[in-house]
Subunit: 356 residues, 2 copies
């Protein structure tokens, strides 16, 4: 099934041999090392974050995710001890590096929503720029977004100030944690492993002649299985109001209904990387798959923003007007969650219609 699905756009009709896997991993490892060098050269742990530093950190995360995902999908073709040891370290690294950026983006999303909900025509350009300065490796505390709050009503302005305080604090902590991580011996061990990978990929003996396609197809099967478990029928009905069910429940944990969508997001990423291994630069751009992935990113971002608004509302001694604004904001972001599911359903149904 998945095999058939891969075939139609397959630029290599025959089997794809293990050397493609080695080449892909070497490319990503080289990219990782290049990004690391760039990160150090553009300031890294000493200067204030520049745009180049941010780009470098992003490139570092990008290749770390690809190496980790590829080790997972093509596990049987790689030295087990080595790949099993490396994957959690790469996950730790990309997770640590991602956090600062995530807090900055979450604050920007929430401030943007507050302005939209206040009918404020003057959405601040600063808010948007501020995310760009969230540079892992900056020595000072990160500059928080300083959106123009004069257009916000009292409740919204107070809610914005509270969110800014809380998320900027979280971001500063993540920034320090990232700095610490990049200076740690644990990180140096990861960098050394990647350096080894750049010159020599520890393939098993059978790998060189093995066909990569069955393993890539298995990754796609895991994706389609997970998608078939999603409530796509209701997600395809606009305004089904499902994302806000439990919007007022006492449970402060992340909404359990989101978990299968987050899981599909990860599996979609693994599927995309497996296609990159198989087809390299020739990989046909799958627009539906791209939209589906973007919808799931938006789903994740909105879910986390909604949760941040709910959590801010539990701050002791806030004014009722602040709490009210945070309630509106929470519901707004949960509707974004619902909208993202709808968008995913649309993109995915176009994707599967394209399948013979």
């Amino acid at each position: 099934m998945a095999q058939q699905h891969l075939d139609p756009a397959d630029p290599k009709a025959g089997p794809v041999a293990g050397d493609s896997l080695a080449a892909y991993l070497q490319t990503q490892a080289t990219e990782f090392l290049r990004a690391l060098r760039q990160h150090r050269e553009t300031g890294g742990a000493t200067s204030n974050g520049t745009e180049d530093t941010v780009d470098a950190a992003r490139a570092l995360r990008r290749s770390a995710r690809r190496i980790s995902g590829t080790l997972h999908t093509f596990r049987p073709l790689l030295d087990t001890d080595w790949s099993e040891g490396m994957r959690p370290e790469l996950a730790w690294l990309s997770g640590t590096l991602a956090r600062e950026h995530a807090y900055a983006a979450r604050l920007e999303r929430l401030m943007g929503a507050l302005h939209r909900l206040s009918g404020s025509s003057a959405f601040p350009a600063q808010g948007s720029a501020a995310v760009g300065t969230a540079a892992t490796g900056a020595s000072g505390p990160p500059k928080g977004p300083t959106p123009e709050k004069s257009n916000l009503t009292v409740g919204a302005a107070k809610a914005g100030a509270l969110l800014e305080r809380q998320l900027t604090l979280a971001r500063t902590r993540s920034h320090s944690a990232a700095l610490q991580a990049l200076g740690s011996s644990r990180f140096h061990a990861v960098a050394d492993s990647v350096a080894v990978l750049a010159s020599e990929v520890p393939l098993t003996q059978a790998a060189t002649t093995a066909d990569l396609k069955p393993l890539a197809a298995a990754a796609e099967d895991r994706l389609t299985d997970a998608i078939s478990g999603l409530p796509l029928v209701s997600a395809g009905h606009p305004y089904n109001a499902e994302a806000l069910v439990h919007g007022l429940s006492a449970d402060t944990a992340p909404q359990p209904q989101d978990a299968p969508w987050h899981q599909v997001r990860l599996l979609l990423r693994l599927h995309r990387y497996a296609r990159e291994v198989l087809y390299g630069a020739d990989a046909p751009v799958d627009v539906c798959m791209l939209s589906a992935g973007q919808a799931l990113d938006r789903h994740r971002d909105a879910a986390e923003a909604a949760s941040a608004a709910a959590s801010a509302a539990r701050t002791p001694r806030i004014a009722p007007a602040t709490a009210y604004a945070l309630g509106v904001l929470h519901a707004d972001q949960r509707h974004e969650v619902e909208a993202a599911r709808f968008a995913f359903q649309r993109a995915w149904s176009r994707e599967t219609v394209g399948t013979p």
Copy 2:
């Protein structure tokens, strides 16, 4: 254009003469008097409200609206002084009678939403039944809905209690106002006018031979003109997030963006009554028009519920958790507003596709 639109389903291909107008008004007047009698017999101003009293009050409003709307649409065919004098009186009556029911329905809608948002599986049957007992003419204060609040979280429970207190108070006042209205000389004058109408409709001399269709078509033109002014393109895009813009604005007045939709709701009703005049019991059921009307009712109800939640949140000295729940509730109902607009756009586009 509108003339063409009326034609396809027209069971009477030729002109429709003034006697149809007279017959329709007489039928509605008779229905009004029957409902009034039933209302008095089933308790009216003395007993506790029964289901029959509620039905009678509804029938009274129903015929009052139809008489008033028909006087408006076919104004040139009726004695001007008489019809101009009668319309505001009928509007006063149906408005006064409608208010108690509206508060009860609003409370039920909001309590239902609170339970949905709390993920409460046990939606109380009492809440639903309570609306039925909102009987204009009951002597005691109306029984408020007593939904099971044990399934609500603290904030939602407090929000529910606050809404129940405020809307029950408003309902009790409307109940007293309706009682007072039904005992007033002003009401007796209306009833007398309707009694005259039941036996003799004050048509102009030209009316008996005049064709009713041009006036009905003009009513339809007013409707289609108003609809063409609605933002239907954005309404047709699911999750356009327009209904919640200004959701946090300082302005406490009803959202100005709702007004054109409310206006279309009234014009659609006039159009429906005009069709009833023309075609009587033979009037072909227009499913799309029916859905469009239901969507606009839902739009109005959700908009008013959202506004009630926002207004409750401005109660002094409420707890932040209460305010938060009211914020979520407000946003939820504004999304219902958006969903209703989407539903209207769908229904209306099917309606116009059906037009040759």
